[in-house]
Amino acid sequence: MRCKRERVIFLQQTEIAVVGGGPAGLAAALEAVKMGCQVTLIDRHAFLGGQLVKQTHKFFGSSKQYAGIRGIDIAKRLAGDLDSGPGKVSLELNTTVLGYYDDGVLLVEKDERVSPLFPERIIVATGAMEKMLLFRNNDLPGVYGAGAVQTLMNLYGVVPGCRVLMIGAGNIGLIVSYQLLQAGVEVAAIVEGDTRIGGYLVHAAKVQRSGIPIYTSHTILEATGENCVEGAVICQVDEKWQPLAGTEREIAVDVICLAVGLTPLTELLRQAGCEMYYVPELGGYVPLRDENMQTTLPHIFVAGDAAGVEEASIAMVEGKIAGISAAGSLRSCTKIDGLLEACRQELHELRAGDTGDKSRRGLEKLRKTMEKRKYAEKDESTGLLRA
């Protein structure tokens, strides 16, 4: 850390700091501002939108949350809503939140300068990061994460290679395969360990009608090639995802793209001391939180993929809830209960389908843990013995 002697660093104050300018953070900031709070929105990128800025496809989801519109355009609209909103959000782009101190101070870095920020409430909407997969030679140049492929293609107009093997048939694997086809890149196949396609069948149908085979119950064993990827060995797996001997075959590709899931980005929450809980259905460790998106530390809220990997529609509604709850804890407003209830109902509907099954299971685990915790707290306060 560089420190110039002549520069005095002041402690900046704000009522609500929102960390992350994706759909969740944007929605949270907008709601909080609507309720008259002073909000600082921080994102480490030069632009707002988070994942959305790479999503050139039309979004599925609820029309109330801009479904049917391309992700890139949703990002613009959300950012526009903030601009034309009732109050002013101070935007800190190209700014990374590095850490959290016990006294409630966030350490913020911009242009290689570090400064402290003291917010009364913090909303963490940092999104998620990609998972890696273990296989031989997975460090060869040519092995990409799906997010990297999207960034290259959709932000910078660079194709990752000529012929791609996609690992994972969830929505991300399916959508990125489609975007590769749009960029003129060949997709040799999509490989999926599960017995069925995890993503939406409408997205699968889009790549299938271009002739891309989806091999379910398959996995990748190794990447081949001397100095970069020249091929991939795939094989069938049994129900326990164990490779079946004798089913190996090699496919000639120069890119292996991994779309094997995301895991919430929760370092800040951990560091702050929010209680975490391992919920594989939500992508890994997630902060314990109640239905108002409040973590176990009363001044810290969470929203979007950081609270559990789901979808943009859900991230936006969670952001709204976090924004309202955080602002509600600073300003009294009679409409809060009604607003929150409407949001919760919306979340319930969004998760009610066949594909919401996993999230529902994960959230149920969280809810139970949270309940036990509350119960324990109550016991302490009443002085009764714990069950």
């Binding site: 599925f60 609820s62 060949e186 396609i197 066949d354």
Partner: protein, 176 residues
């Protein structure tokens, strides 16, 4: 090769097709969306209220074929690109299929292209009647293809004929 992928004969689904009589009365939308997912733009897109109002955002879209006139508004809003417009009354021998197509280069009216089915296999050749790419379609061009009548329910994609100079090398990468 074990290949448990689902490319169902979608139109066999009970809500998939209008009855035979309706099919002979002009264009209609065919929605191939048969999984309860949280998605609803098609319903809001329809100006004729032909897509039954969802009780729940996960509902499957269901068309009232007496109201649907095949205008294609829903087609251009659907993020799943799951909707096509079919008109079996186009001519004596040919039917018209309108498909969403988000690839470059775009075909142009008059082109003969390969018509592909749901698995990307060639079913027949098709003539491009029109390429719609209006602002309200938001960069999802809609290609009007005329195909032999017996294929109207199978055609879901197209491919420029190989060797077409506009193909830009899209289909010539490393051999398997």
């Amino acid at each position: 090769m074990l290949k448990k992928t689902k490319v169902p004969a979608f139109y066999e689904h009970k809500n998939g097709l209008p009855h035979a009589e309706r099919m002979l009365q002009g264009p209609f939308a065919l929605i191939e969306c048969y999984q309860r997912i949280p998605c609803d733009p098609c319903q809001y897109a329809c100006p004729r209220e032909a897509i039954k109002t969802f009780q729940d955002i996960n509902d499957l879209p269901e068309i009232d074929y007496d109201r649907c006139n095949g205008c294609g508004r829903c087609l251009s809003k659907c993020p799943g690109l799951a909707i096509v417009i079919i008109d079996s009354t186009f001519s004596l021998q040919e039917g018209l299929v309108k498909i969403p197509f988000e690839f470059l280069p775009l075909p142009v009216a008059g082109d003969v292209v390969e018509a592909l089915n749901r698995e990307g296999r060639v079913v027949c050749r098709a003539r491009v009647l029109k390429v719609e790419n209006a602002q309200w379609q938001d960069r999802t061009p809609v290609i009007w293809l005329t195909v032999p009548k017996e294929h109207v329910l199978d055609v879901r994609n197209l491919r420029l004929i190989q060797g077409d100079e506009r193909d830009g090398g899209r289909y010539n990468c490393l051999p398997l």
